[in-house]
Symmetry: C2
């Protein structure tokens, strides 16, 4: 198992990644189960090297902890309650896993370091589940997609982080839509509406939705989709460059 | 002058406050000029004690550095480039101000601490300039409101922070409108439109604006404003509870 040392990290600062996945009309969240005695789920997380930016750290952590590369990751919130790192809980986790932690954290100082208060920068992304291949690392027993309505209880404030990330995803969805890259190059208004309905977890009225989308001024209308029945065929759209 | 010691702070983590002020149809930013040899402007900034949450720290810093209490402050972005703390610049500032820094930072270790890389959490607020009384502290030579189009060159990435805060203010404006508390209890659609035009720095078309606002479903329509000419009098609105 890889040793983690505090030496080259910024102290008391971490990064957590909330990775939403879209597939078959469902919104899911990517969550590893830690390779420890006891059932501990936690968001893909890590620390910031002195020489890298926080954005670079987030990308590296997501690659190291979940095998995902070149994902459009963005910050959504910093979690900085003085009591968010439950030291009693952490101590229990460490005690249960003395041997494993002994392999991960070589020095006694590193145990102390990891149980200090941490301020954590939350990053989020929304990916097409068909286009990514998460993998476990030596730190994890498994890594799975969970329906956003049915997420396991995680350590620290990670469940709360998912809720806040979802709120930010919704607030920014109109603005970030193009970056998320969740639709084929050409798509129908109905496909776009389905994506919105999954993210917002509620139905939209067809006419209102279409008007809202056209008002955003990000769509370019193309030819009709070929379905054989020309008069009922829906128009295709793509995002303006 | 008050001594600042690294002892009780989280290392390498700071908070910067972008305080927008609204007055007479103008958007302004509150910026202190540091009480140093050389002309150095900087956002109201500070560090996080081990025992306080980042939100508490932001409130305390804003009170200590600008005399503002109970302001609706919110995070908008973390600034974490590895090179954002220009150590050469800081060294020059320290060298120019040996004597003053000697009074602020007692120990040699504290000099070193302050010139390390810092990750900074940006907080922002929008206040009614008529309702607040900024004051200078011993760290500042002056503190003034500057028009958002005419801001002095500040240290570090503080000018960039103002731009990013403004972007976030606009993205969140519909959602945060009620919290900002910038209008009288009852107001006309025209007054609301003027506020939007100042924040977004562009004109809105009256009918479109009114429709957008009513669609937000946060306004309650009241009686007409008494002007003497009943048929032309505008309706008054207030925010729904």
């Amino acid at each position: 198992m890889r040793a983690i040392s505090q030496q080259n990290f910024i102290q008391q600062l971490s990064i957590d990644c909330v990775i939403f996945g879209y597939k078959d009309g469902n919104l899911q969240v990517l969550i590893p189960k830690l390779n420890l005695i006891g059932d501990f789920w936690a968001l893909p997380s890590g620390f910031i090297f002195q020489h890298e930016s926080i954005d670079q750290a987030a990308q590296r952590i997501l690659e190291e902890r979940a095998g995902l590369k070149e994902v459009f990751l963005d910050q959504f919130r910093v979690f900085g309650d003085a009591q968010r790192t439950n030291r009693a809980f952490f101590k229990k986790m460490v005690d249960l896993n003395q041997e494993k932690f002994g392999e991960i954290f070589i020095e006694k100082d590193d145990y102390d370091w990891i149980t200090k208060r941490f301020v954590s920068i939350g990053y989020y992304a929304l990916v097409d589940i068909n286009k990514v291949n998460p993998r476990t690392t030596e730190l994890d027993e498994s890594i799975d997609w969970y329906d956003v309505h049915d997420i396991p209880e995680m350590i620290l404030d990670h469940n709360q982080q998912v809720q806040q990330a979802l709120e930010m995803l919704r607030i920014n969805f109109d603005h970030k839509l193009i970056w998320f890259n969740l639709l084929p190059e050409k798509f129908t208004m109905k496909e776009l509406q389905k994506l919105y309905e999954v993210v917002f977890d509620k139905p939209f009225r067809r006419n209102n939705f279409q008007k809202k989308m056209l008002d955003l001024d990000v769509l370019e209308r193309l030819e009709k989709k070929f379905t054989g029945a020309a008069n009922k065929a829906p128009f295709l759209y793509r995002f303006k460059k």
